[in-house]
Structures are given as C-alpha cells and as structure tokens.
Amino acid sequence: MLRRRETLVLIVTFALLAIVPYIASITEVPFYLDLGRRMMILAIGALSLNLIMGYGGMISFGHAVFVGIGAYVIGICAEHELVTGFIQWPLALLACAVFAFIFGAISLRTRGVYFIMITLALAQMMYFLGVSLDRYGGDDGLPLAEPSDFSGLIDLGDKNSLYYLIFVLLLLCLWICKRLVNSRFGMVIQGARSNETRMQAIGFPVFRYQLTAFVIAGVMAGLAGILLANHTDFVNPDMMHWTRSGDLIIMVLLGGMGSLAGPIVGALVFILLEEALSGVTEYWQLIFGPFLILVVLFARGGLLGFLEKRGSSEEDDG
C-alpha cells in the first residue's frame, strides 16, 4: 500500500523528472538530460532489484547481470543489422527471462550468504563471458551502430524522445510493482521473506513463487539494460560487473528497502551524489561511504523510512 507521504514523494519526483528536458533546453546544458535518463534507467534497475530483495528477501548480488544481458542483446542484434525494436526488445526481454530462470533455479536452492555468493558468482561468470566475446568487442565493449528502430513510431535517436520514453517506462514499472506487491503473489513472496517455514507449513510451495519473482525482476532489469544500451549507444562487460550490482543494492538501501518509492529516490540520490561529489574530488567515494553508513545506521528504512518516521505523527497508522 502506498502511504500518503510516499505518494507525495513520488509525485514530486516525477514532476521534477518531467521538467528536466525543459530545464536542459533553457539552461542549454544538455548534460542534465543525460543525467536524468541515467537516473531513471537505474531507477528501473533498482525497482526490479527491490522486488526480490526488499519484498522477497532474496539478496541478489548479481542483479546487474540482467541489465547487461538486456543491453548485450540489443548490441549484438544491432551488430548483425537487426535494428528493429519490435524484434530486438522482445528478444532481449526473453533472453533475460531465460537466464533469470536458470540462475534463479540454481541460486534459490540456497539461502542467506550462500544465495548472495551464488548470484555473485553467476553474474561474474557472465561478466567474464562478455570480456571473452572478441567478436563483440570483448573488454572494450561494443558501440551501438544505431539505436533501436521503431519505424516512425518513436525516434530513439532523438534525445528528448528517448528521455520521455524512459520516463513513461519507469512509471509503468512502478505501476506494475505496485500491483504485484499487493497481489496474492506479492503476499506470498513477502510471507516467504518473513517466515519461510511458516509458509511451507500453511501449504505454500514457496520455491516456484520465489523463482517467478526472480524472473520478473530479471526481465525488468533487462528493460533497464535495453534502455541503457540506447542511452549510451554502447555496450560493455562492465555493465555486468559485480560493482554495478553493488550499486543497485546501495540504491535500494539508500532509498528504502521494501517501499515502492524507495528505490527510485535511492537511484536519483545516488546518481546526484556521484555527480556532485566526483566534481569535488576524484575520491568521491570517501565522502559517499560514510554518508551511506549514516543512512543505514540512523535511517533504517532508508531515506523513505526516514521521511515516514518524521511524518508518522500526522498520519493515521495503517
């Protein structure tokens, strides 16, 4: 359920994101547009991770692998002059679904630290596969000859169009997540996070539900990858590196795990801080690290949790 304060945060966030292209054009700083796109793409990635991590209790340390797979399918298709988005996109999402199914089926046999380690290992495996793919640029990556083509429907080469497409898709993903977590399916994965033994005892075969959640999250992350490839006109193995998965986890924690607005706010704040701090010093992580520790220590539910707590005196509970 969305709380009032959370809804307010979302409205403000999306209102700000909506006017970014306008601001970029009047200030004549196209970089803002670029920044906004990157924020929203990562917000989709964080949103998808939050489905399994925040709601399902499955801490995947390899989630960026699906971003990478989505992006690579677009890159490889384009390399073979298959540029129509009507084929590229479904293909990329399908590839993510297949890989998520396999990776999920393997890693969900374990729990806790082992789950973290297996998801990490599988993702690193794909990272090194990417590095070894000499045909597709190997270590250096693969430039995207042209963006996905939607034959006149929308021109992704136009940076404003791409911006608004990402904006709409982020909203769509948010809506899907909201429906999912409140559905019967959502109750099952949350129940399994809370008490798996109990779930088994009342009759839920939880594995199949967790695996389904893992696949849904993988596909959504794949969408972020598709957009990322079109955004940067470039694909490289680094997108799948474990540090990228770590970034996604940080975004979710920063914004607030298990809330809908949390990952979006987390992604935005993460990118903003990265930009602002790296402008100050090359060692921006020296400042970012302690900030993150403070958030985790003093705002357990992330920035969103902090806001909720602040506002709870004015709100009726539940």
Partner: protein, 252 residues
Amino acid sequence: MADIVLKVEKLRKSFGGVLATDDLSLSVETGKIHAVIGPNGAGKTTMIAQLAGALNSDSGRVLFDGEDISGMAPPARSRRGIARTFQITSIFHEFTALENVALAVQAHDGHSFRFWRAAREEARLYEPALAALETVGLADRANITARNLSHGEHRQLEIAMALATKPKLLLLDEPMAGMGAEESQKMVSILNRLKGDHTILLIEHDMDAVFALADQITVLVYGNSIASGMPDEIRANEEVRTAYLGDEGTAN
C-alpha cells in the same frame, strides 16, 4: 469401528546415535482430541515435525486418510489437510493478525499466481480469516501488527492460522507453552470449543489441560509409546506413574 484419520506405523528417527522416535505407532480417531504426553526429550516435537513433513523419517509410514504421505513435503501435507502450530511461535511478524490468517486462507484457495488484484481487498480471503480469528477470540485484535500482540495472543493466532487452512487434523505443539494460568484457561476453552468439529493431536505439558481435554492419551518415553488409552486408564497405569506422572502428577 471408529474412523481413523491418522495412522502412524513404526516411525523412526535418529539424530546421530540418539533415537528420537523409536518404532512409534499410534492412531488418531476422527473428531477426537488425542493428547501425547511425555517428559522433556521424549521426542514429542520430533514426532510433530515428522508428521507435518518438516523432518524426514528414517523408516516407518504415516497414513493420512488412508493415503501414505510418508515422503511428502510440508506444503503437500498441508494441502491434504494437516495443519500444525509451532512450539515456538512462528508467525509473520510484519503482517497484521488478519493478514496472517488471510495468507493461510489464500494457501488453500488455489494457486497464487495472481499478479494483479489487490489481495487485501478480496472478501473471499478476509471473511474466512476474520471468522477464524473470531473462533479463537482475536477478532477485536485483527488489525494489530502481529509483532505487537502478546505472547498469549500469538498462540491464539497460531491456532487461527491452522484453522484457516480447514484442516482435517490439527497438530498442536504445546499451545499453552509459556502461558500464565489465565491465558491457559482461555486456551483450554478455545480447544474445548473446537472439540468434536476438529480432530486434534495435542502435545501439552499442562496435565490439568490434558486431562480436561483429551479423549485419548498416548505416553511417549524415549521416542516410544509406553501406554495409550482413555485418560482414566492412563491415570491408573502404574508404568506411566513411575515414568512420568509420578513427580509432576502429584506436584500439581
């Protein structure tokens, strides 16, 4: 002959060299409360775990409704109508009492690959859930987050969750554990109300409660049944008195 809903045949389970369940056989009749008593470490909770499917047995069979369910996992057994409560409270702490029970209802209302409709707005989940809460006297606490309920209320909630799965057999693992006299009394009256409509296998240390409720009592010592019969027979049984009732029976 009365209907037998659960038949346990020569069930065995050992942990390392310790036999927790040693060739245990017993039968539970439909509609009866069958109590299993025994000193600490007699293997009562192990037996419940074996019956619910949480622990695999080394050998022996469990027949439920005539079907051999020995190799089945907990969800499959739950689907066939076995519900259990836990000795140490096991609930969903983040959910409200009502949501806890609604989830149990949901588990037995077809598959849960339903991704779109808000579960909390479904009357077919929440009406039976509220009814189960009423049965255990928790209806007025329905919207309290489970974490904030008292210990006694947690135990009641466990029963409500078990009832919500419309079980043919309830396995209750010390429902009065850790309760004060007043709470215990309340639990006895709840179980009394269930009597007749439900078949219950009850593990309990509180002898007053056991003798007040049970139709049949089995005494477990070192994983084996040393006696089984009506409460009066058990009370009179010499072997039981020395093995178990001796100290505790007179202490009460």
